[in-house]
């Protein structure tokens, strides 16, 4: 049983069709790298998976729950699909530790002590054990994004969605975030990553999907796709990215 299954998913914003009858299955343990030119629908696809955007047609099932089910079912999906945003979106009134402890406390119903202990362990995992008492505004972009990853992990999701997690970062800060993501992949986390980091795709990805105009046009192994892209559009795209 696939962890994520899209069947003929269509998404429109007004008259603009962003996703056109997309079919896709993702198994547990896969690290899927989603690439494509801007406006191709990759971010929207990601946001449809945890129901931040409602779909207009077809069906999308995550962990056996359809995004078309009711509100409480949608919340269940979101608890299984952690999300990391381009702009981090940390809660500014909370310290790093409180940010990470918030999910377990309010979503999983953990006790305060447990939630804080868990949060501390997660901050350690992303290399920020000594930054727990700092507010987001006191952290660098790379640190903020690592806190955001810890925050998403704290709810113990089965799947992690990354929406251009390094695009808002300076080049020298990107590697610290990518390293955390790599170790997560090595632990066997299922991940869907929208990114322009082709080195990451090659090293960490188990599957690469190239989207254009709201459709999946190439789906395959990252090493072979990046080494010898047969699709003309993908070849052009890769030339621009590198």
């Amino acid at each position: 049983m696939s962890l994520v299954r899209l069947s003929k998913v269509t998404k429109t914003f007004g008259t603009v069709v962003v996703l056109q009858e997309v079919d896709l299955s993702i198994e547990a343990g896969e690290v899927v790298v989603l690439v494509g030119p801007s406006g191709s629908g990759k971010s929207t696809l990601l946001r449809c998976i945890n129901a931040l955007e409602p779909i207009n047609g077809g069906d999308l099932v995550v962990d056996n729950i359809s995004v078309r089910a009711g509100r409480s079912q949608i919340r269940a999906i979101r608890q299984e699909a952690g999300m990391v945003f381009q702009q981090f979106n940390l809660f500014p009134q909370m310290t790093a530790l409180e940010n990470v402890a918030f999910g377990p406390r309010h979503v999983r119903g953990c006790s305060k002590v447990d939630a804080i202990a868990q949060a501390q362990a997660l901050l350690e995992k992303v290399g920020l054990a000594d930054r727990g008492h700092h507010f987001p505004s006191e952290l660098s972009g790379g640190q903020q994004q690592r806190v955001a990853i810890a925050r998403a992990l704290a709810v113990k999701p089965k799947l992690m969605l990354f929406d251009e997690p390094t695009s808002a970062l300076d080049p020298e800060l990107r590697h610290e975030v990518l390293r955390v993501m790599q170790s997560l992949a090595e632990e066997g986390m299922t991940m869907i990553v929208v990114t322009h980091e082709m080195a990451f795709a090659r090293q960490v990805g188990t599957r690469m999907i190239f989207m254009e105009d709201g459709k999946i046009s190439v789906d395959g192994n990252p090493t072979s796709l990046l080494g010898n892209p047969e699709n003309q559009r993908l070849r052009e795209f890769l030339q621009h990215v590198h």
Partner: protein
Amino acid sequence: MVRRRTAELITRVRLAGIAGAPDTITWMATMEFDWSVIVDATPALLGGARLTILITLVGLVGGLAVGFVAGLMRAYGGRFLSAFAFTYIELIRGTPIVVQVMFIYFALPVLADIRVNPMTAAMTAIVVNAGAYIAEIVRGSFLSVHKGLKEAGLALGLPMWKVLLYIIGPVAFRRMIPPLGNQFIVSLKDTSLFIVIGVGELTRQGQEIMAANFRAVEIWTAVAILYLLMTGTLTLILRITEKRMRML
């Protein structure tokens, strides 16, 4: 009586202009600030100020509650709730508060057989009036919070009410403080309009004393200073609240 004094004053000022120093001195003498007038008026004025504070406090607490509900209905309610809140806000913002309190005090008994004493009418008017303005402040502040925060909260699997309460609310609240301060001060001063239904608040007390002793300068100076003390205190409280919170 008042008219005669005014005429007299005008004549003196005119004479002073033509004849020079001696007359000016006589004119100044009649304007001498009599502190004993203020001392005598103080108990009554303080009593009035107490009522002003009471109406304002009840009005602001109630207004905040009404404002939060109406503002959130406007921002996040469905079409029906939003339209309901919108109608309330427009009705109140579109009519003067004097008309509103007159309506509550004089028209409601006729219309619906609801009889209220002046104090209740005054408090209700402030609650209803401040509530409408605060609703817009609340709506604006909540909607000004970056939508990424809402998405981050929802993406964790939180229900919307928890996102509003724990994530957006605290950020929005900090942005509300300056415009709320404005509204608090406006509401406090608006209580002076309840003179029209005979509530014995500060302005009414001043008016009554003035009608008896004609010491306009002393009385209105004292009344103005009392208002300044009250609004100043409000400003100070808001300033401290703002300082103690990290702006986000």
